[in-house]
């Protein structure tokens, strides 16, 4: 899995493109992204559509203590869960503070929706998203979701 390093002029980039995802189409974590130049960041997830019944998805950010010189094969990089300062789903009006999940279980009843979590002290160099699907997915079932990172 390649490491995608954003151009130095970009302060916002796509972590994962908006598309239909399910355990077959998108079974593992996203690529690693170099966020070394940012001191704070926001992960924004949008889920415009869900197809299926009784399915759910949980999405969270991870970092690593590895680096290209220490471990060139990034498939072997060790992942550590990141904790946000607060997360809010648009329209909910309340925050969830100091937790792991950016999307804490979205189902067909909670989409379309958009979630954002802020990391006020982004000490890490690399970031990716991991996720977990729940329920039974039929062949064309899944969530259409994508995510972006905004750093400063």
């Amino acid at each position: 899995m390649p490491i995608i390093v954003p151009k130095t002029t970009e302060d916002s980039f796509e972590l994962v493109p908006l598309s239909l995802k399910n355990p077959t189409l998108f079974p593992g974590p996203t690529n690693w992204y170099d966020v070394g130049r940012f001191r704070e960041g926001t992960v924004c997830v949008r889920i415009p559509k869900a197809v299926g019944s009784g399915i759910s998805v949980v999405i969270w950010a991870q970092t690593t203590d590895d680096d290209p010189e220490h471990q060139p094969d990034d498939t072997l990089w060790k992942a550590f869960d990141l904790y946000h300062d607060n997360e809010m789903k648009s329209g909910d009006g309340t925050t969830r503070d100091n937790k792991r999940n950016v999307v804490n279980g979205a189902g067909t009843g909670s989409v379309p929706g958009s979630w954002r979590a802020i990391y006020k002290h982004l000490a890490c160099r690399y970031l990716r998203l991991d996720f977990n699907y729940g329920g039974s997915f039929g062949g064309s079932d899944g969530f259409t979701w994508g995510a972006r990172f905004v750093g400063k």
Binding site: K78, F80, D81, Y83, N101
Partner: protein
Amino acid sequence: MFAHTADGQGVSVPIPSLTMAQVCLNITAGSGTFGGGEGLAVWLQGSDDEGLTWYDLPSDQQGKTAASGSEVDAALNRRNVTGTTLHTTTGAHQFLALYKHLAAKMIRAVWDIAGTTPSFTFTVVLVGK
């Protein structure tokens, strides 16, 4: 990556330009028999006098990496990277602690190990800005 069987500390590292950091504790193996108050504890210390005197540093957020989708709350203002309870389980485990304001001249990792024939194989890596 070494197997540790007793209390110890890592090397002292000057951090003149770091203002925040995360500590990544990667435990790859553990063994032994542990009673109450026994196990592995790992934490960060800072020094204000070139390593003569050391002070325990609490993290702002601390947690354990989990494969499950179940929500995990970060523990706030804890000393141990291993959490509030001592680590006593075998297998691979990853812990992360975030220090939002690291106002120390030098830092080092410290660990306590107690139990019957205890052994833990781990690394402690600091990533900072």
